[in-house]
């Protein structure tokens, strides 16, 4: 090589490694954003009501965070494959109704129904891939199916959670409240599965560049089925956790979860396309939404009618911050 050429390329090397350092810093900042927003909400609560920051306070405030976190993880799997699930809320409601009736009265049939519903989710993934259907349309249709089934199973509010489930959700570990331990476990397990295992790479790759994955010989049908089945699995866990806390069910109990789950994924640093998701971020996003929704508002003496609006406001603020960070990257 000619000397000036080498010099030039060394120069660009130095410059681009500095650029990449800046990129890495921006990515770190963006990765910390969910944690920062959670910390902000916690600080606000501590300032408004210092007594809430206690073992008992957290157990109470974060009680409903576990089912929300599980539903958010379910949504995250779907979003990782560049799809969207508008039926997760009514699905959680359906699972809740089955849990409060069949799972208690006839456990075997209950288990079969829940496993079958995960199978239905897997089939939806296959259908969406094979027929090239927009997932929004398919899952919007399915949301009415789940809702209808829930009403068939439990026409009016009632039923009762199985005793073992009640006992499990009422578990009181020493020092650290159960919801925090559960959230940590959920986040870490899913992080390991999706971000660290060799097949997790393939699942995320199917959202990043499906054509490349297909050329490398991987089955996109299989990745889609696996992602949707995982969404179904976590939807089932979410519904069961919810009934373990509320002790009885209602066909409409999960309806709000669809948008909460989407908001949680996005709040946690995920993006709608491109396979960019973060399990730990998603769990943190779910916790933030759960905290900001009712406890914070109660302490601020704002009526619960404003809950949804408050969630929206948090989402807008965090997304605006993310846009600002991304703009600085360029």
């Amino acid at each position: 090589m000619r000397p000036e050429m080498t010099a030039a390329s060394l120069d660009t090397t130095a410059r681009s490694s500095a650029e990449r350092g800046a990129l890495a810093r921006a990515r770190l900042l963006r990765g910390l954003l969910p944690a920062l927003s959670l910390a902000l909400v916690l600080l606000a609560i501590a300032w408004l009501n210092p007594r809430a920051i206690s073992y008992f306070g957290f157990s109470l405030m974060l009680n409903l965070a576990i089912p929300i976190a599980l539903a958010t993880i379910a949504q995250m799997f779907v979003i990782a494959g560049n799809e969207l699930d508008l039926s997760i809320g009514t699905f959680v409601g359906f699972v809740g109704c089955v849990t409060a009736t069949w799972l208690k009265d006839a456990p075997l049939i209950g288990v079969a129904i829940l496993l079958g519903s995960i199978g239905v989710y897997a089939l939806l993934g296959a259908l969406i891939h094979l027929r090239n259907l927009p997932s929004i349309v398919v899952t919007l249709g399915m949301s009415f199916v789940w809702q209808g089934l829930a009403i068939l199973v439990l026409p009016k509010p009632g039923g009762k959670a199985p005793d073992w489930l009640l006992a499990f959700m009422a578990f009181k570990p020493p020092f650290v409240p159960f919801p925090i331990i559960a959230a940590l476990l959920i986040g870490l397990i899913v992080h390991f599965g999706l971000m660290r295992t060799s097949y997790g790479v393939i699942l995320r790759g199917s959202g990043g560049n499906p054509a490349a994955l297909g050329r490398a010989g991987w089955s996109l049908l299989k990745t889609k089925i696996v992602l949707f089945a995982l969404a179904g699995l976590f939807g089932v866990l979410s519904g069961m956790a919810l009934i373990g806390i509320t002790t009885s069910a209602d066909a409409n109990i999960g309806n709000g979860y669809t948008l909460l789950a989407i908001a949680g994924v996005i709040l946690g640093g995920g993006e709608f396309v491109g396979g960019r998701v973060s399990p730990i971020g998603a769990v943190i996003g779910a916790l933030t939404l759960a905290l900001a929704a009712s406890p914070l508002l109660t302490f601020m003496h704002i009526p619960p009618d404003w809950q949804v609006a408050a969630n929206g406001a948090i989402l807008i603020i965090v997304l605006a911050a993310r846009v600002l960070i991304s703009r600085r990257e360029r």
């Binding site: 995320r204 790759g205 491109g274």
Partner: protein, 489 residues
């Protein structure tokens, strides 16, 4: 009957059609061990289609594929990988959301289980060190953060990594297009070492010098066929260019039109591509038809869009003195309003003139459409039918009617004749000539060299820059190929 058992791959009589378009018409092609085969040809000559077949991503309509002497009936990507055939595609096939190591894992099913991340990282880092010493890419970098050149380096290095499957043949489709001269040199040197080790390569490049210097054998394709295949030593630049473009001089269609033009009319457009370093401008005057030539995607469309934008908001380096209309090339995504009728699709560019008070006058809209239906010959029983009731060629005519029916004195054409039948083409050529005689200016980007015969002046583009500026009398296909394949970057 696959002959020559020593060949790594052999295709006999491979044919492929996409709809009515014949992409490959009975091609015989083979690669032996320890040779680097150079593959050259103009856009659409069928190189990529042929390579997709070798890599297993496309199945030929007819013909035979043999690998390592055995006939493959169910040839596929995974079969090709088992047999040691890999391809670096022109479009990058990395996942931008994954790290370099994770992208390596995607190509190796055996990288799994405990410690796979470390193994993948070591594998790709070692290969990058071998091919591009001093590359400064880390295996943990997220691909989306890397520059396009570095991504290409990762993609090339990944194709040469070996785990359990064998590796005999790597297809490199424009491997140096995003690399600087230094890294391109490193890659080509590595290719020579790879071939010297008894393995094989197929090298596709638009830089003819690269092919001439590095290939052992060169295959030239044109119009979906192999026209020449010979040892690299038997070629020089001129012979390659001649083989690619067809030597026979063609008849000029409308030379007489040019002579009638006045010498210097009013300036309509003066534009300089954003990356142009010397002072070359594209200049278009009233009544001129200006051709934009060169290989596809070398900045022609960008310049047209910049001119279009400059008409409504001033931009540095671009001067536009009259209203502009654009005829889109990709009519399905950029041109047509699919829910609208033919009349509405034609009228949208002229709404200001079609207004009656605050509302659009359906009557004036219909009049405008009727005039152009007659003039341009849109074949339909009712102009109020949905635009999709028309054939592709007639849809394109409606888009021409939209532009020509407007007040625009400058018409930008972004390769509008793609996939249009020859009859429609000739009608539109005549219309363009006629409108130019009336003083309209046309800027015409085309990938079909014959269409340039309609132009008064041709600018050839390469890497976003104007590299040649030809008058009508200087225009030959060879000249255009010479400049668009020029080695000087």
């Amino acid at each position: 009957m696959v002959a020559g058992n020593a060949d790594i791959i052999r295709l006999n009589g491979a044919e492929k059609h996409f709809g009515a378009v014949r992409a490959l018409g009975g091609v015989d092609f083979h690669v032996g061990p320890g040779e680097c085969v150079g593959l050259v040809g103009h856009n659409g000559a069928g190189k990529s289609t042929l390579m997709h077949m070798v890599a297993g991503t496309l199945v030929p309509d007819s013909g035979q594929i043999g690998v390592h002497g055995g006939i493959e009936d169910n040839y596929s990507v995974s079969r090709a990988q088992q047999l040691g055939i890999r391809c670096v595609f022109q479009e990058l096939s990395l996942c931008p959301n994954l790290s370099v190591a994770e992208n390596t894992r995607i190509n190796h099913a055996s990288l799994r289980g405990f410690g796979w991340r470390r193994k993948a990282a070591e594998l790709i880092a070692a290969k990058l060190d071998e091919i591009f010493p001093g590359h400064s890419i880390s295996a943990s970098d997220i691909v989306g953060d890397l520059s396009i050149g570095r991504r290409q380096m990762v993609e090339v290095a990944r194709a040469f990594t070996v785990t359990q499957d064998r590796l005999d043949l790597v297809i490199l489709d424009e491997p140096t297009s995003s690399l600087d001269a230094h890294t391109a040199g490193q890659l080509l040197a590595f290719v020579r070492r790879f071939v010297a080790g008894g393995k094989s390569c197929i090298l596709i490049s638009h830089v003819l010098g690269e092919v001439l210097r590095n290939a052992d054998r060169i295959v030239v394709m044109r119009d979906g066929k192999v026209v020449v295949a010979d040892a690299a030593g038997a070629f020089d630049r001129d012979r390659l260019v001649t083989a690619m473009g067809g030597a026979e001089a063609r008849q000029k269609i409308a030379a007489q039109v040019a002579d009638a033009k006045p010498g210097a009319s009013a300036l309509r457009v003066r534009a300089r591509p954003a990356v142009q370093k010397d002072g070359t401008d594209l200049v278009a005057r009233a009544g001129e038809i200006i051709g934009l030539a060169g290989l596809a995607g070398h900045g022609q469309t960008d310049l047209l869009l910049a001119i279009f934008a400059a008409a409504s908001r001033a931009r540095a380096g671009i001067e536009v003195t009259a209203p502009v209309a654009l005829v889109a090339g990709d009519r399905q995504s950029d041109g047509i309003f699919p829910q609208w009728s033919i009349v509405q699709n034609i009228g949208i560019r002229s709404l200001a003139r079609l207004r009656n008070g605050l509302l659009i006058s359906p009557q004036r809209e219909a009049e405008l459409a009727a005039v152009w239906q007659k003039k341009i010959g849109i074949r339909t029983p009712d102009m109020n039918n949905n635009i999709f009731s028309l054939s592709g060629g007639n849809q394109q005519k409606a888009l021409f009617a939209r532009a020509l029916g407007s007040d625009a004195q400058i018409v930008l054409m972004d390769d509008p004749m793609r996939g249009v039948d020859i009859g429609t083409k000739l009608e539109v050529y005549d219309l363009v000539q006629e409108e130019a005689r009336r003083g309209r200016t046309f800027l015409w980007y085309t990938t079909e060299t014959e269409e340039l015969d309609n132009c008064d002046h041709i600018y050839v583009f390469k890497n976003g820059r104007i590299v040649a500026n030809l008058g009508r009398d200087e225009l030959t296909e060879e000249k255009i190929i010479q400049s668009s394949f020029g080695d000087a970057a």
